[in-house]
């Protein structure tokens, strides 16, 4: 089976690979495009931009989303910005530097060729978005403004206040709407994919549940694109939207698509800390805040005690008694170290007893210096809406006292394995955006998720899918009465019947919360072999408890949010287990994956290139059976692999 892992990376110099691949790809003529049908699942930046572009090219596209409108996909919540190698700041940025920063930020676990292509098309994304009318921030001369993000030393991030994801998604959604109006794209909101249909080894359609009527519906196509985002909600508490899930990816996995690097999950350093136990969702504070905010905890434990007892306020602690620990440990990058480094450093201080709130799980992000340096107005322009949002949630004003922040699960670098064309191990099945694994290695840099979603959707998959479809235009439309469709529908029906028939007393959320505890405790910021083994066995036990005691109220044939959640939780069990297995196999510390057994004397992550310089790709072997791990070795031909150093 390992021969399925052919990455199809074109030969030749790095900078020529994408051009070379494009020139090899067979074209599909306009009259043949009209005969071809493509299903796109998900309408975030990747899905919406892919569906719009494919529709514009003349294909027949059906696009699905679980929310009431494509515009609500979780890309909308991305705050800080989007990277592009424009070098508009004349700070010696280039495609190569964006490529290099992304590979290094990913801790040398991403493919060179894919990442280079990402950097290469990044500039076109900004052009496209401006042409669509996205109101990026401007300088007074009318030129586009930029800011910096973690893990880089140039200013290459474009932004629209703290709502960049919203604006980019509205652009892609507008492009999608234009195609819906033109009749090339059909939109199916409130539809949830529940299985992939594979016929003769090729992806030919999906089974979806109409979330309003509850009916199962069959949809056939010549190719299927998965753009359903990441699986961060396995942890229950994360910055993901409540309905974000990994189910489509798991359905593809169970139908034969390999799943790559599941253990690489990103824990974002700047989230609003957890309050109490009634919370269901964590709120991110944009990384852009680290441009001007300084992170600290008190140097003295007695100050920590006083803070927790509310006897003093943070601003009363004098400068010399503050530990700006990122600036202290990483002088070259300071507060702008990559996310994984910043998160671990916060955990280290809190574990040492310096956490500044009652739970001991919070550090300060302080803007007093920035306000003094830049003035109220400029700080308000940059971060005003984020300050407001923080104050709404916490009832504390960042203008007066520092924010309190703590790391939380935010993004998953792992995902469905894809080759250079973004095709999975199932022919005709593609995965784009966060749903695939391809570009971020062990850790994603800030403002790169938006870049990847739009790169894949606007510029990569609409081209590469042509190579597959150029061989398919003579094939008739997929017959949804085929036995494979009937069998897939029966299997989904059986899952639903089983869940509705359990009739226990536990709620889906309460069991999901338990899964979240297992994941955070054993597959969180610090992982070790014993804990990971425990996680695998505890998840198994929890799955049994779920099937014995959950109560899914209502019926199938109605709007039933509990049934939706129960189906997703079934898949979160599988993902959680797979994450723990992968984390156990990967004995090194790398990017967002920190193995306690693999660290330097001063507590920094210790990567092991000799043994782990590969992509792990997991193959499903059947229910209750252990999956098999395959390895795609990573070769670095163009850059020198080095230990990540953000100290000097």
């Amino acid at each position: 089976m390992a021969d399925k892992l052919i990455s199809k990376i074109p030969d030749g110099p790095l900078a020529e690979k994408w051009t070379r691949r494009k020139s090899e790809i067979h074209l599909v003529s306009p009259n043949n495009k009209r005969k071809l049908e493509i299903i796109v699942v998900g309408t975030g930046l990747g899905g919406a931009s892919a569906a719009a572009t494919l529709g514009e090219l003349g294909y027949n596209v059906k696009v699905f989303c679980i929310s009431d409108s494509p515009r609500r996909a979780h890309s909308i919540a991305a705050q800080g910005g989007i990277n592009a190698a424009k070098n508009y700041q004349n700070d010696n940025d280039s495609v190569y530097r964006l490529f290099y920063d992304t590979i290094k930020g990913g801790d040398y676990r991403a493919r060179e060729a894919n990442v280079y292509r990402l950097a290469e098309v990044s500039a076109s994304i900004i052009d496209q978005c401006v042409a669509q009318g996205i109101p990026f921030a401007r300088e007074y001369g009318g030129y586009l403004a930029n800011r910096s993000f973690g893990g880089v030393q140039v200013s290459r991030t474009f932004y629209a206040r703290g709502q960049t994801g919203q604006q980019l998604l509205l652009g892609a959604y507008a492009a999608l709407n234009r195609q819906v109006a033109a009749g090339t794209v059909q939109s199916f909101p409130r539809h949830e994919m529940l299985d992939l249909v594979v016929i003769n080894g090729e992806a030919k359609g999906i089974i979806a549940r109409n979330l309003v009527t509850g009916q199962l519906e069959r949809f056939g196509a010549h190719a299927v694109i998965i753009a359903t985002g990441g699986y961060g909600n396995t942890y229950f508490l994360s910055t993901n939207a409540m309905n974000s899930n990994g189910s489509a990816a798991m359905q593809c996995y169970r139908r034969g698509a390999f799943f790559a690097n599941p253990c690489f999950a990103q824990i974002h350093p700047t989230c609003i800390p957890v309050h109490g136990d009634q919370q269901c969702k964590l709120t991110l504070m944009s990384e852009s805040l680290r441009n001007d905010g300084r992170i600290w905890v008190p140097k003295k434990l007695e100050d920590v005690e006083k803070l927790r007892r509310h006897e003093i306020t943070p601003s009363q602690i004098p400068e010399e008694d503050r530990d700006y620990y990122l600036e202290r440990r990483y002088p070259a990058f300071g507060n702008l170290v990559p996310r994984d480094v910043a998160s671990r450093a916060a955990k280290e201080r809190c574990d040492a007893g310096f956490g500044v709130n009652e739970t001991g799980k919070a550090v300060f992000l302080d803007f007093s210096d920035a306000i003094e340096r830049l003035g109220h107005q400029r700080v308000a322009e940059r971060y005003g809406n984020l300050f407001d949002m923080y104050e709404k949630i916490t009832a504390s004003s960042p203008w007066k006292e520092p924010m309190m922040i703590y790391p939380a699960i935010h993004y998953t670098m792992g995902g469905i394995w894809v080759d250079y064309d973004l095709q999975t191990t199932i022919p005709g099945l593609y995965a784009i955006g966060e749903a695939n694994f391809s570009d971020h290695g062990g850790n994603r840099l800030g403002a790169s998720a938006l870049m990847q979603g739009l790169a894949d959707g606007y510029f990569v998959v609409p081209v590469t899918i042509g190579d597959y479809l150029s061989k398919k235009f003579a094939e008739p439309k997929t017959d949804i009465s085929a036995p494979e469709f009937a069998a897939a529908e029966r299997a989904v029906q059986a899952r639903i019947d089983r869940l509705l028939g359990i009739g226990g007393t536990e709620t889906v959320d309460s069991i999901h919360k338990e899964l979240g505890h297992i994941m955070w405790n054993y597959v969180g910021m610090a992982r070790d072999a014993d804990g990971l083994k425990k996680a695998i066995s505890e998840i198994k036990a929890l799955r049994e408890k779920f099937y014995a005691s959950v109560r899914v109220p209502g019926t199938q044939f109605e709007f039933n949010q509990e049934l939706e959640k129960a189906l997703r939780l079934e898949d979160f069990f599988d993902i959680g287990e797979l994450m723990a297995r992968d984390a156990l196999e990967r004995g090194e510390s790398c990017g967002g994956h920190f193995r306690v057994e693999s660290q330097t004397e001063d507590g920094e992550a210790k990567r092991d290139d000799e043994h782990y310089m590969y992509v792990s790709a997991w193959e499903y072997k059947g229910e209750g059976k252990e999956p098999e791990m395959h390895k795609e070795p990573l070769k670095y031909e163009f850059i020198k692999v080095a230990t990540r150093n953000y100290k000097d």
Binding site: S49, T53, D68, S69, P70, R71, R72, H74, I76, A77, K86, Y88, S124, D127, Q128, V130, A131, Q132, G133, P135, A137, R138, E139, Y140, G141, G142, Y143, L144, R161, Q163, Q166, Q167, L170, A174, A175, N177, R178, V180, A181, S187, P189, A241, M242, H275, G276, Q278, Q279, C280, K281, T283, M389, K392, A395, F459, T507, D509, R551, P553, G554, E558
Partner: protein, 247 residues
């Protein structure tokens, strides 16, 4: 904290709805309104009852999914927030809180507090875009846009499509929603070529879908969670009139 919740229950689009009252206790003042409903639903499920359906997703005030009409106001008593960003500290302990769906002829109820807002997608499909092909754009810095113009466009473009404006308007007008989009694009040089045509097409679609007329009460602006100004309606009207004169 504890509350009496008077909540609209409706089995499906065709069923007749009614209010039901639930008592809930042990709520933290820092809990959000939707977290409180989560807790209520936990309780209902454990008691063998049907949980209350409501739309929600990001819980950060940006996706626009949540859409509750609380004590007679879209998104409840706090100003300029979505329902998910409304916190229980804004209510009196022991209060009775009335919770309804957004009501409008163009937003039929699907179940309980969940409504169908597909009409918004349809209005935007009528013209809420700039017709640019993927890959055909010029270099981004070839289009200079003054800082303040970009900021104004951003103000309009902050609309999250939640429908609070429609739910608030006594006529059920979608004028603020339409104006926000028309204005965001009309302010920018890229959006000028189609500005009048866009305004005309979107207004026509709005009328066709059963939204009411704007009578300038400005109630929409008051309840918009993103504080979108009615001045955008004036800009929409200018574009609309231009289109009319051109025929």
């Amino acid at each position: 904290m504890e509350f009496n919740l008077k909540i609209w229950r409706q089995k499906n689009a065709k069923a007749k709805g009614h209010f039901e009252t639930y008592h809930i206790a042990g709520i933290e003042s820092d809990a959000s309104f939707l977290e409180m409903l989560d807790i209520l639903n936990e309780q209902l499920i454990r008691d063998g009852k049907d949980p209350v359906s409501f739309d929600h997703d990001c819980r950060e005030g940006i996706c626009g999914a949540c859409s509750l009409y609380i004590d007679g106001r879209a998104h409840g008593p706090d100003d300029h927030v979505t329902t998910c960003q409304l916190f229980m500290r804004h209510f009196k302990d022991g209060a009775t809180i009335t919770v309804e769906p957004f009501r409008s002829a163009a937003f039929p109820v699907i179940k309980d507090l969940v409504v169908e807002r597909r009409a918004f997608d349809k209005i935007l499909q009528a013209g809420g875009f700039i017709s640019v092909r993927t890959g055909s754009a010029q270099d981004a810095n070839n289009i200079l846009i003054p800082h303040d113009t970009a900021e104004m466009s951003m103000d309009a473009s902050a609309c999250i499509g939640c429908g609070a404006c429609v739910a608030t308007c006594k006529n059920g007008s979608a004028m603020l929603f339409v104006a926000a989009r028309v204005s965001a694009l009309a302010l920018l040089p890229q959006g000028r070529p189609e500005a009048s045509r866009r305004a005309k097409a979107m207004v026509a679609k709005m009328d066709e879908l059963g939204f009411g007329n704007c009578t300038n009460t400005r109630a929409c602006e008051m309840e918009c969670p993103k504080g979108i100004s009615v001045s955008h309606i004036a800009r929409l009207n200018r574009e609309f009139l231009k289109a009319k004169f051109r025929g």
